[in-house]
């Protein structure tokens, strides 16, 4: 204790003398000595070639006397480690301290000299702070690096020695975010001096109860909800800690629907089918946001009126869910009619055989080359009349005279018919002739 006081006396009595006493080693940005760092004490300006310095931890009055050796034009000590009681000693000389402690360094060399340093936090390791996300491999029961977020058990990690302050495991937290939804996840240091922090989360994906969406649920291992977010392809889970972030995409089951963007006339039944995966475990269908009773891989579509149907399939295979959507456009059935080639008005029945007619075809999707006309009954004489587009979906045949061009006459019944290429309906009309 007498030595301590002597040092303190030196500190008080010779603060302005010319010796340069300093500590060289890792420091925090605020100038404090880094905890767990290894330092050397140097004395410059002394005439002696050997000597000692005394380090005093002011809080505990622990004294460490360190020899100095000549190192060029100055004197230098052997490495001295500043550590906590739980840190292993890395050098022969060490001083057990806590963050915030003050260390006085004094020497009696020359006219004497001294300095006071404070102990700060540990320095971050190389590449730190570093975030990580690992997934439990259910087959090997090992943690593996997670490249994406899918249903399972995850461990979010943070490596940052600077957060290791005491000999007790510390905690910190990071922010989880998916879209606009955020949550705080508490990370616990994995050991007293590990500087590695981790927290486990359980990821679940489920269909929304009402909407045609998939929802990602993040839970604690105690099943306490952390975060709930509607997710779509391209969404990602972001882990953020003090400006450092890590993003991992949400993994979806690849889903393909067939056909894509179906156009269907009223009355034509069709189905939208899950083509990928080939054998889904579960499919939930939505049409215009309304959940359908159908649960198989095919959704029958029964067009009842012209409109657009937004079809969404939520597909599960194993634990993975996927979402895919397509559009079914229901268009009116093609309509055919006979019109007067002279007036363009609808042909009245019975029509005079010698009067010229044209066939009007409406609501045509795509191209049309011809339309079939003929006579009902025996000797039907079906003829393909070329047609030309005259408007949006409206086509008009060339003019023809039933008697002269088709050889039909009074008492015969003329017909025109369009057969949908799917074979699901025909558009036809008959015209009695006189």
């Amino acid at each position: 204790m007498r030595g301590v006081y002597a040092v303190l006396l030196v500190l008080v009595a010779f603060p302005a003398l010319g010796l340069g006493v300093s500590i060289e080693g890792p420091r925090n940005p605020d100038g404090t000595l880094a905890m767990c760092g290894t330092f050397t004490v140097t004395v410059a300006g002394a005439a002696e070639t050997t000597g000692h310095v005394t380090l005093v931890l002011l809080r505990t009055s622990e004294v460490l006397r360190v020899s100095l050796e000549c190192d060029g034009d100055r004197l230098k000590s052997a490495p001295v480690q500043i550590r906590r009681s739980c840190d292993p000693a890395a050098t022969q000389l060490s001083l057990v301290a806590e963050i915030g402690d003050a260390i006085a360094i004094a020497t009696e060399l020359g006219a004497g000299g001294c300095a006071v340093e404070r102990v700060g936090k540990r320095l971050s390791g190389p590449g730190e702070p570093a975030l990580s996300l690992r997934r439990m491999n259910n087959d090997t029961m090992d943690w593996v690096t997670a490249e994406s977020v899918e249903p399972g058990l995850f461990s979010a990690g943070l490596n940052n020695l600077a957060l290791d302050s005491t000999c007790a495991p510390e905690t910190t937290h990071l922010t989880l975010a998916v879209g606009q939804a955020t949550a705080r996840l508490v990370l616990v240091e994995e050991g007293p001096v590990a500087g590695r922090f981790s927290g486990e989360i359980v990821a679940q994906m489920q269909p929304d109860a009402e909407d045609p969406e998939l929802v990602l649920h993040l839970l604690t291992t105690d099943k306490e909800p952390l975060l709930r977010a509607v997710v779509r392809e391209g969404d990602a889970l972001a882990l953020t800690w003090d400006g450092v972030d890590l993003r991992r995409p949400v993994k979806f089951l690849p889903v393909e629907l067939s056909p894509v963007d179906l156009v269907l006339p009223v009355g034509c039944m069709a189905e939208v089918r899950v083509s990928v995966p080939e054998r889904p475990d579960e499919v939930i269908w939505f049409v215009n946001g309304v959940r359908q009773a159908v649960e198989g891989p095919s959704l029958p579509v029964c067009p009842d009126a012209p409109r657009t149907l937004d079809v969404v399939a939520l597909v599960r295979q194993g634990l993975l869910w996927g979402r895919q959507q397509t559009t079914v456009t229901i268009v009116p059935q093609v309509r055919v009619s006979f019109i007067s080639a002279e007036t363009g008005l609808p042909a009245n029945e019975p029509w005079r055989c010698a009067a010229p007619l044209q066939v009007k075809v409406e609501h045509v999707q795509g191209e049309l080359e011809s339309i079939l006309v003929g006579k009902l009954g025996a000797d039907p004489r079906p003829c393909k009349l070329p047609v030309a587009r005259v408007g949006d979906g409206v086509w008009l045949s060339i003019p023809f005279r039933p008697a002269a061009d088709l050889g039909v006459c009074g008492g015969d019944v003329l017909w025109v018919q369009y057969v949908d290429f799917r074979g699901c309906y025909t558009a036809y009309v008959v015209l009695p002739l006189r």
Partner: protein
Amino acid sequence: MKSAAVALALVAGLGLGGVGLEVAHPVVFSTEPLVVWTAGDVPPEVSLGGIPVPALWERSQEGDLTRWTGVVSPWAPLGVWMVCSDRSCQAVLRVSPDVGLVEVRAGPGALLCLAGQVRVADRAGWATFAVAPGYHELLSEFGGEPVRRWVTVHAGERTQVTLVLAQAGTSTPMALPGSTVILGVSLVSPRELPALGAQLRLPPGWEAVPSAGVFDPVRVGELTVRVWMVRIPGSAALEEYTLAVDLGDLGVQAQTTLTVADRLPARVVVCHWDVGGDQLNLALPCRVTYNRLRWAATLVGQELPFTGRVFTQTELESLAAEWQTEP
């Protein structure tokens, strides 16, 4: 119109003219089978818009024709279907059983209106309506006077309405020069006729004597038969003749044909034989009776009168079989 002619040259390879296929109805329900008669034993083909449609056919023989009953899926589209044999086609309209079909028999070219639809009767005098179920008024005109008939239409049912019937026939399809035959006309009139206006159109030299009551009034809607005795001149050439009856009040003409020959088929001789008078009487109704069979049996192995050849046991057995099946 020139372009139309060019276009119409692109006729699909269907509907070639010729006989060889008949359908029971030009308009059918989607739920009923297709009934088709062909001359051959090759099943008809059914197509829609040029695309063949499979059909299950059952066949039976009716005289020289084969009757085919075909079933296609009732869910197949409605519209105009083609039924084709190897020689000809018919266009058949398939309609929903939600409507009812009304087949109207009238005079050829008669204008008919039912439930807002207008039809012109075809050459055979038929017109078909596909109308909603209900109670509809059928409108027409005969002899310048309107004719109205109420028709009850049921969904999925076929209703036949005879406005006009005028069918001519003779007591025999084949006769000898100098013989007398009966010419009869079965008729239904759409309106009351105070007297039947009928004018025969016979080959030159032929004579006709009306039976009693030929020109009597005709009641509306009732089947009436009027007959004439027709005398064929002995100098008549051996050929087929057309006998016609103009029914001016109904706007129709009833026609039939009669072949004049110097030899008759054995059946014609037997079914017209006057056993009591022991002579051939072609004016009698043709019927194979027990007495006529007995008479014919005595001539097996001998020449049958007016046939020019020996009557065989096989022919007798054929006539006996016909007698057995007659009611």
